[in-house]
């Protein structure tokens, strides 16, 4: 019976890891539904970007208050999670604070002391975050797309963090042997008086309860990630690695179109030739659903943590248009999740469910409101590119459906006919030189 807690711990831990791994595999599968794209170039620049933007948080601090608070939570969480290693070893082997034996009291005390300070800082930051969302009601947390689940999700994450930090401090405070060392209990020693009236047995019970809830809470949180915008804590790293390296103004030239254009310009090509038997099926231009996007764009969608910096910088959104770059990313992710469920329900293959990203999630009106100004791309702290999705969907609208606004059709007609977006004769292009 003495091994019961160890076995129970091992079962919970393994279950959590297995469940998490399954979701990671699903995530991988879903992202790979996107078209292949070559991002194997410039590895050193990519590593640098990841180090700077994800690890170094350089774009977070563009907004100093949110940026600083975020760094505290981020650093706090990463460092405090070193403690998880000890908890897991203790849990599996039935030891108690194994780190103390390994590292010695002074080093161990220093570490735990640092964790405790960070825990308080994280607690304070998270409370400020909650106030920003729920009391100050910052505009970017209140847009149309931020109702229902996205709103709850944002708060649930904060509650998780508050509870985990409190449990960590209570666990230390209720540990009489740890308090007895009188090292590393910088914060928890102030909680100890709360438990003064307790018997040693009750105190031990509090300590064990906090310990178990803390680790189970962490494991639940780990598995919550897949269902939450909070996935960014993992995906920000690959996402910044695969982020765009060329100038922001450079939009991809479609290879499929280049092939068509080359064929048209080739005097040798026979315009009446029947396609070869083995010719690949004509490629669809642009994107109307998630599978038409690249896997990097789908990774972008899962990485988005709905902070709304893109939307708050968007000129169309600022002037009351429907377009919100954040919604573009959330819609892409939500549709991808829907597709994922269809695949799961049909033994691993996608069956047309009569829906698509364009129209069912993202409207034409949103797409046509974009000025392609790159403010959203610049604003994103984790190198997401909503603009590329908007442009791919415009391509589908124009090249597959001829569904551009009529003004734009006129403009394009002018370019085709006379080489300018306005109906002026190309032969008049130099007239200005003669005008005084």
């Amino acid at each position: 019976m003495t091994y019961l807690p160890n076995i129970l711990f091992a079962i919970i831990f393994v279950t959590a890891i297995v469940f998490f791994s399954k979701n990671v595999m699903r995530l991988r599968r879903n992202i790979k539904l996107g078209k292949d794209v070559d991002v194997s170039d410039n590895k050193s620049q990519r590593w640098k970007n990841m180090a700077k933007i994800a690890l170094g948080q350089t774009k977070m601090v563009v907004r100093p208050i949110a940026g600083l608070l975020h760094i505290i939570v981020y650093v706090g969480f990463v460092i405090i999670n070193i403690e998880v290693l000890e908890i897991v070893i203790d849990g599996v082997f039935g030891t108690h604070r194994i780190g103390l034996n390994v590292l010695g009291a002074s080093v161990y005390g220093f570490l735990i002391g640092a964790f405790e300070i960070l825990a308080v800082l994280v607690l304070v930051s998270v409370i400020v975050f909650w106030i920003r969302r729920n009391i100050i009601k910052l505009k970017r947390f209140l847009s149309n797309e931020m109702t229902g689940w996205p709103k709850s999700d944002g708060n649930i994450i904060l509650y998780f963090e508050v509870v985990l930090m409190c449990l960590f401090l209570i666990m230390n405070a209720a540990d009489s042997s740890f308090q007895g060392l009188d090292t590393g209990n910088l914060i928890s020693q102030h909680i100890v008086p709360w438990f003064n009236s307790m018997s040693p047995e009750s105190l031990h019970f509090v300590e064990r309860t906090a310990w178990w809830l803390h680790i189970v809470g962490i494991l639940i949180f780990l598995n919550y990630l897949y269902y939450s915008k909070h996935l960014h804590i993992l995906l920000a790293f690959p996402n910044t690695y695969y982020g765009k390296l060329v100038p922001k103004g450079q939009f991809k030239n479609s290879d499929a179109v280049t092939r068509e254009v080359k064929l048209m310009m080739d005097p040798e090509a026979d315009p009446f030739a029947a396609p070869a038997e083995d010719a690949p099926e004509a490629e669809k231009f642009g994107a109307s659903d998630v599978a038409d996007l690249s896997w990097v764009q789908l990774l972008n969608a899962y990485t988005c943590t709905e902070c709304g910096r893109c939307t708050s910088e968007c000129p169309a959104n600022q002037t009351g248009k429907k377009l919100s770059p954040r919604k573009i990313m959330m819609d892409t992710r939500d549709r991808l999740e829907e597709v994922s469920k269809v695949i799961d329900a049909n033994n691993g293959s996608f069956v047309d469910d009569g829906k698509q990203l364009l129209g069912d999630y993202i409207s034409h009106e949103e797409l046509w409101a974009c000025t392609s100004c790159n403010a959203c791309v610049e604003a994103c702290p984790v190198s997401i590119d909503p603009l590329s999705i908007i442009m791919d969907m415009r391509q589908y609208l124009v090249m597959e459906q001829s569904a551009a606004p009529s003004d734009l059709n006129n403009m394009m007609g002018n370019i085709e006919n006379n080489g300018a977006p306005w109906p002026f004769n190309q032969m008049d292009r130099l007239n200005w030189a003669q005008e005084q």
Partner: protein, 263 residues
């Protein structure tokens, strides 16, 4: 206004067996839009004054395809691109300067992949270089102490990270450069990009150019400087909307320099 402009074409120079230092890509707005034509002429005056050996394509120039690409018509864009590239490659063009950030971005970034490799610079970068090489001088007298705010064109700034060239030129005019609350990387669009210039805006609470003009007016400028013919139009409309056209001028950097030099 001074003498007639000297505007050689590539065809003329080619026939004479000459190769200019740089091709001036005028762009559709610069060729046809009445307001933008003034910018084109101001820039040519500076080129003439500095004895820059340049040429234009004239009637052989055609839209770069930028508005087509941003509208989603990749096919039309690439047709325009390969046609223009054929013309430029035939003339063995090495360096291109343009006063339009949209042409600049497309020529610089999107043409190489289709076979058009040129050194492409925006006219503010080119003017800055002329100044540094001592080929033009700037007497700032006329603009001394004037409050000038610079509106960053998206396709020059964020799209290509050119923020300083236009600002350095304004400072060289001895003007007081005042920044809007949203400038450089955070610059707000004028509302014309992404082919919005050619369509009605979607329903909203305000037009983008009005929002941007309000930001510009907050700096209490005497001049709103721009580096893009489309931004120029949008800001001019915004200033008119605010009934400030008698006190605030919207001018291109090239026009500022040309008038400072009294060309």
């Amino acid at each position: 206004m001074s003498d007639t402009l000297k505007v050689p074409t590539m065809a003329e120079l080619f026939a004479a067996g000459q190769q200019p230092e740089v091709l001036f890509w005028v762009g559709c707005a610069g060729s046809f839009d009445d307001r933008a034509k003034k910018i084109t002429k101001a820039f040519v005056k500076i080129l003439n004054k500095a004895n820059v050996s340049f040429a234009v394509l004239g009637t052989e120039e055609s839209c770069t395809g930028d508005p087509a690409k941003r509208s989603g018509n990749e096919f039309l864009f690439q047709m325009q691109a390969v046609t223009n590239i054929e013309v430029m490659n035939a003339y063995e063009v090495k360096k291109v300067v343009t006063a339009c950030p949209h042409c600049f971005n497309t020529l610089k970034n999107e043409y190489p992949g289709l076979g058009g490799n040129y050194e492409v610079v925006h006219h503010t970068q080119f003017l800055k270089q002329l100044l540094e090489e001592g080929r033009i001088s700037m007497e700032g007298g006329q603009y001394k102490g004037k409050r000038i705010t610079f509106h960053d064109p998206c396709y020059l700034g964020r799209a290509n990270n050119v923020y300083e060239a236009p600002r350095e030129l304004i400072k060289k005019l001895d003007a007081e450069l005042v920044e809007m609350k949203n400038c450089k990387k955070k610059g707000l669009c004028c509302g014309a990009g992404g082919a919005q210039m050619f369509k009605e805006p979607e329903n909203g609470s305000k037009d983008v150019n009005i929002e941007r003009t309000e930001q510009a007016l907050e700096t209490q400028p005497e001049i709103i400087a721009a580096g893009c013919p489309f931004c120029n139009t949008m800001m001019t409309d915004g200033v008119k909307n605010k009934e400030k056209e008698s006190s605030i001028a919207v001018m291109d950097i090239a026009e500022l320099i040309a008038t400072a030099e009294d060309l």
